[in-house]
Amino acid sequence: MKVFQIILGLWLTAVIVCAYVFPIVPEITGWYQYPVIPGLEEKARILFFHVPLAWTSVVGFLVSVFFAVRYLRAKKLDDDIRSSSAAGLGLLFCALTTLTGAIWAKFSWGSFWNWDPRETSIFVLLLIYGAYFALRSSIQEDEKRATLAAVYAIIAGVTMPFLMFVMPRIIESLHPDPIINTKGKVSMNSTMLVVFLSSLAGFTGLFFWIYSLKVRLARLESGRSTEGA
């Protein structure tokens, strides 16, 4: 665990240094240079943080749904602890995604929020997380809370593909705003791609490290509350 933390720390430091120090030049002459992406220029650097954050918030949601299904199959409260811990972290990453996305949108499109399909789907993910925790806090008994929260996570999970994949296709025809993700990936060079993928891996590692801490903490807390009762 110690080794993992040290590697993770060094890894993310390297990603941050690469993301901010490497110059963006029109003509590539060295391996350490990024190409100019038309319409993004220096703003392209937020790509290394915003997209991994969004990715991680979706990973958090998927982990939560996975353990929700496992809870319903085996009815072990430990799976509920894992499910809700993943959802809590997903909420944090989702809020950060919304924030970085709004900043990016302000400097790229001129306003903090303009209901682009991607913005809509991240907003709904935020709402789902909010509703999930509102539901959890309204139920007292552990088993009942775990079951109902798991059911809600699964129902929300099956409707997510509509927002993620179907809505952007449909709304795009009305609003021809460029969707940054596809646009950015087309014009990335290999250096940029390597840093981007390393950032993705680094943030995923960060997620699972905080997640394991959170699960251990939640287990201790649930143990203490049953002893006290």
Binding site: L72, T120, V124, L127, I128, G130, A131, A134, L135, S138, I139, Q140, E143, K144, T147, L148, A150, V151, Y152, I154, I155, A156, V158, T159, F162, L163, V166, M167, I170, I171
Partner: protein, 226 residues
């Protein structure tokens, strides 16, 4: 009851809910008054202003959504409140109960949507429809999808506390893809006379209905036995 098949139990639950609703008229009266109240608020706020078609489509679905939120949660909550849920659990198996309630909710919401849309078209100035069949298809598919999502969330919420406030909070993110699609289909119906103009939306709505019902079928057992 054990002698009946799946469809028999579904029909029995549906008949029970329908006759109990027709006796008390609780949901029907409340929903009718809700419709009148919200429509008059819209009329007062519009005054004589002309509004674009997209606003009409959006407003109509805001009305239907909140009407569904105030009326459809009762299907399972009444069973909990009257204490009849234990008898229902003893005498039947779970899945047909869900489908009986679903059928009841779908019909209730279809009736409500019909009344709402007709009243809206009659009362609100500037609401003109080009493609009547597009509108009917969109309203039908949207209503069935909304009723399906509301029924499973209603079953969930019946077990929780603070139901009244929680119900729209839980439902909104689930039905948002449906609402966005159906509002687009309704806008198309008001602008374009051809039925096929919204075929992409029909497909999304249909797959939404299939997905939400499949998920409900899989998870309802866990809510019911809890």
């Amino acid at each position: 009851m054990s002698g009946r098949g799946f469809i028999g139990i579904t029909a029995a639950v549906f008949r029970k809910d329908t006759s109990s609703e027709l006796r008390t008229r609780y949901a029907l009266n409340a929903l009718f008054l809700f419709t009148v109240t919200t429509l008059s608020i819209i009329l007062f706020s519009f005054q004589s202003a002309t509004v674009p078609t997209q606003v009409h489509a959006g407003l109509l679905w805001v009305l239907i959504f909140f009407a569904a939120m105030s009326g459809l949660s009762r299907a399972f909550i009444t069973e909990e409140d009257r204490g009849t849920i234990l008898l229902l659990k003893l005498s039947t198996i779970s899945t047909p109960v869900f489908y009986g309630k679903l059928l009841f909710n779908v019909l209730l919401l279809l009736a409500l949507t019909t009344v709402l849309t007709v009243l809206y078209a009659l009362v609100v100035p500037g609401f003109a429809v080009e493609g009547l069949w597009t509108l009917c298809t969109a309203l039908f598919l949207g209503t069935v999808g909304l009723a399906s999502a509301s029924t499973i969330i209603g079953a969930l919420i019946a077990k929780a506390n603070a139901r009244g406030t929680l119900y729209p909070v839980l439902s909104f993110p689930i039905v948002l893809p449906l609402l966005l699609t159906v509002i687009r289909a309704t806008t198309t119906a008001m602008e374009n006379p051809s039925w096929g103009a919204a075929s992409g939306e029909y497909r999304v709505l249909l797959s939404y209905i299939v997905v939400i019902n499949a998920a409900s079928y899989l998870v309802f057992d866990f809510i019911w036995k809890d």
